[in-house]
Assembly symmetry: C2
């Protein structure tokens, strides 16, 4: 049972825009988010193992902006980006500052809203995962928080060979990490690299 | 005949400190430069092919601070960091703003001082390389300049699994690149990743 994170990043380590909104969930830069995820959607066969691994955990943790574009009060009509049956099929713990009742979706995904911090969310996710892994599903700010706290066991970056020059980056505000290289694999559109604590 | 660049970087893409000096050629952060290059010096057997490739070119280009810690006027006593026989065994073109006569070292390395910019340096290096590759030897600022100008054919990063949180980074000021993933290889202390234009 490990705490893992998968993240698609550009060469310059950008994973998301700083200006997410309902219309532009990855920020205003045209097509940025789509281009970071093309390897998954348009080239799934080339990257089947890595795509499968992303949703193989027994519980997930995500930042509020990965769940919802709204800020401040909850829009209770909003049920996530993923339609009625999200791809998690497991409990998902959403880090946030305002309480909200759990939201049960089809296919076994229930969103729980956690207001008491990343360690509390991890305890609840470990409880919910049974003997499976817990995945920090993103975004980069959330993964950086777990890296900084020394709570992430395995980081799997999917490096897309483009640069953006601005945006939210993995490893921002995480000095003095020391990880161990585990594996790497290049496919025609992406380089998969894994490190462990 | 390709224009290549090798660079050792941290997870957060830092390749050098911002405060290089004679005492601290990679910047003041204790041991930073040494830790980025341990894979070459202490674990050469694990990474023999990648180490050999770094000095396999027919000519080299480097920034002034990679040649010399002094600023402003040349200290003509300074003959580089590498002792009497530098590891290049080929012409090395040093980008700088003040002219200096060529400096011939033992073993076939001659430093040429180029004051008319990165394109002129590349023309001279291509002439000097015969049918071999030209390597942009660093530092990160120089490699970024060639990336930005679209003049680099192959970039080989050697990713050391540590973070610094500050310093000179590869891909700083190079938005809108689009490269092609070529290969990757993980060894116990470093991940080697190559992209082409």
């Amino acid at each position: 049972m490990a705490v893992t994170a998968d993240l698609s990043v550009s060469l310059d380590l950008v994973a998301a825009g700083e200006d997410q909104s309902l219309e532009h969930p990855f920020g205003r830069r045209v097509g940025a988010g789509e281009r970071l995820h093309t390897w998954m959607f348009d080239h799934r066969d080339e990257n089947a193992d890595e795509v499968s691994a992303i949703t193989a955990a027994g519980a997930f943790i995500m930042g509020r902006h990965m769940f919802s574009p709204d800020r401040g009060e909850w829009d209770l009509e909003w049920r996530g980006w993923w339609g009625p049956e999200p791809p998690y099929h497991a409990p998902v713990f959403v880090l946030c500052s305002r309480p909200r009742d759990p939201l049960e979706m089809e296919g076994g995904t229930t969103f729980h809203f956690v207001t008491d911090g990343i360690e509390a969310a991890l305890r609840r996710a470990l409880d919910g995962a049974g003997d499976q892994d817990v995945a920090i599903a993103g975004g980069p700010t959330t993964i950086n928080a777990y890296l900084r706290a020394g709570l992430l066991d395995e980081l799997r970056l999917h490096i897309v060979p483009i640069t953006f020059g601005e945006g939210l980056r993995i490893f921002d505000g995480t000095p003095d990490l020391e990880l161990v290289p585990v594996s790497s694999r290049t496919t025609p559109h992406v380089t998969h690299v894994t490190w462990r604590r």
